[in-house]
């Protein structure tokens, strides 16, 4: 991250300042197109639009009240088959940018010609809360985000500590800025080039922004720790865990909307788990009954083992769960612990290798079961006994 940025006037609020700035970037041909949330025709939600026509920015919002589609999914759809020839600026939430970085490492997105632009994030509302009354939802969101009050936001937004600049190319700092202004902060050489092309000298000190971010981050970290401790008490052990997932209907929507679950055909829907009836009956016979469809817990734990090192705690899974299961909270807990094991933070940088792709020779000895040869003597005695018996 740069320690200098530029100041952008924002007398009419952050949204219109950012939109104005993006319009200028489009007209100066710094970008060929924008990928940005735009209100849908019925005015009751937002969708990512790839646009080159500035008129379409009229209903665009760099900070919409909801995250119906995780932005990294949109980015991946655009660039999964390679870098495009157009320069695209994607305006996304920090967790969406982090997921885009994970997807790039997973070779499901290509960022050479795409600029990730983020804004200090107040969180988003749960989709279902918002859809109950979109107008009231938008007002509630505006009011709460003004005060940085995360109470009405999604549970994972309430405990989000990566709400500011991750590894985006350009970041809009709204924290710590003087009234009626925001910071524009380049986060990569790519981002710096854009600033240059826009004629925006990097002459503003960022200390105030950095200090406010740090302060808020510490509060959030503490909240996260507390929330995870409470959560863990509720879900621990087979009883707790099976209680949490007791109403799961196996729709796998949590997986389908998850940005880092990118597989075209998920293992848990594949032929690998579709077995002849005798198998199901035998399993039922062992346990007295077999929940059907089977493998609910296998799906959740197995999915975690596939992707939790790249989970960005974005909350999309929880938003899409028809049974209101706190999937994202559970996964954020699993993610924090697992990523800690490998000293990895999902979406921190494009350079850190994915933990399951890399390894060190000298590491993780705690999982190796030490051999102390205690069983030697015992075995010999056993064998001798057997020989004698024979």
């Amino acid at each position: 991250m740069n320690n200098k940025g530029a100041i952008l006037p924002a007398e009419d609020g952050v949204e219109s300042a950012v939109i104005g700035w993006l319009k200028e970037a489009l007209s100066k041909k710094v970008f060929d197109a924008l990928l940005i949330p735009v209100e849908v025709p019925a005015g009751d939600s937002f969708a990512y639009l790839l646009l080159r026509n500035p008129a379409l920015l009229e209903n665009a919002s760099p900070l919409p009240p909801v995250m119906p589609v995780q932005g990294a999914k949109a980015i991946s759809r655009l660039t999964m088959r390679g870098n495009g020839s157009k320069r695209v600026a994607a305006i996304v939430r920090p967790c969406e940018a982090r997921a885009a970085i994970e997807l790039t490492k997973l070779e499901q997105a290509h960022l050479d010609n795409l600029w990730l632009i983020t804004v200090d994030c107040p969180g988003v509302l749960p989709l279902s809360d918002y859809l109950e009354d979109p107008v009231a939802g938008a007002a509630r969101f505006a009011e709460a985000s003004q005060r940085w009050d995360r109470a009405p936001m999604r549970p994972v937004c309430q405990i989000c500590h990566h709400f500011s600049m991750p590894a985006s190319d350009l970041h809009i700092g709204t924290l710590g800025s003087a009234e009626g202004t925001v910071f524009v902060i380049p986060g990569s050489p790519k981002g710096e080039r854009v600033m240059e092309n826009l004629g925006m000298p990097l002459d503003a000190a960022l200390d105030d922004w950095a200090a406010r971010v740090k302060e808020m981050e510490e509060v959030q970290r503490e909240r996260r720790r507390q929330a995870h401790t409470d959560l863990k008490a509720g879900i621990a052990g087979p009883d707790g865990l099976l209680d949490v997932f007791s109403s799961c209907i196996n729709c796998h929507n949590c997986q389908r909307v998850c940005p880092v679950c990118y597989c075209r055909q998920c293992y848990f829907e594949s032929a690998a788990l579709k077995l002849p009836p005798e198998n199901y009956l035998a399993r039922a016979g062992r346990k007295g009954a077999l929940r059907f469809p089977p493998d609910t817990l296998l799906f959740h734990i197995g999915r975690a083992s596939h992707m939790v090192l790249s989970c960005v705690s974005c909350g999309t899974c929880e938003d899409a769960c028809p049974m209101s299961i706190p999937v994202a909270q559970v996964f954020s807990l699993l993610a924090d612990r697992a990523q800690e094991t490998f000293g990895y933070v999902a979406g921190r940088s494009l350079e850190d290798p994915l933990p399951l792709v890399a390894y060190e020779m000298d590491e993780l000895h705690q999982v190796e079961q030490p051999y102390v040869e205690t069983y030697h003597g015992l075995q010999i005695a056993d064998c001798e006994q057997e020989v004698q018996d024979a």
Binding site: L242, L298, I301, G302, R337, T341, F342, L356, Q369, D382
Partner: protein, 143 residues
């Protein structure tokens, strides 16, 4: 207590096709015995072992899963055992966070020539699982 003594665990012993299984062959050549309830499950290389193959038995009826591949530096594919170690660390982290007894998973290197170590591992793991008692997940019908 008496319940636990009588309890015969169901154990899956995942072995790579080179060292782990080789250890088993050496043990056989030396007529070394290991408990019958420890079922060997051979994979090409522990580095190619999907995490789901560790998790699934633990939900579907095994009381423990042990994994043996080559010693560091001996992997026939150079680094399969290091990759396996990372996966085991991941699975254990998940089980630990969920309080699902990560100690039901063991990871220990066994070389082709180490028949004794193979048999000891099977036996020691079996005793260890006996002490832990039956895996509570295996009787739950709502998994």
């Amino acid at each position: 207590m008496s319940d636990k003594q009588e309890f015969e665990p169901r154990i899956i012993y995942i072995l790579c096709s080179w060292c782990g299984s080789g250890g088993g062959e050496t043990a056989a050549a030396h007529h070394l015995h290991y408990p019958e309830n420890v079922r060997p499950y051979r994979v090409n290389c522990t580095g190619a072992l999907p995490t789901v193959h560790i998790i699934r038995p633990l939900i579907e009826g095994a009381d423990g899963v042990a994994i043996s591949g080559c010693h560091p530096g001996d992997c026939h594919y150079n680094d399969g055992n290091f990759r396996a170690r990372r996966r085991v660390a991941l699975v254990k982290s998940i089980l630990d966070t969920l309080d699902l007894e990560p100690e039901r998973v063991w990871f220990r290197y066994v070389a082709h020539g180490e028949g004794r170590r193979f048999v000891d591992t099977a036996t020691e793991f079996n005793d260890h699982i006996k002490k832990l008692g039956p895996n509570p997940l295996k009787t739950r019908s709502d998994t």
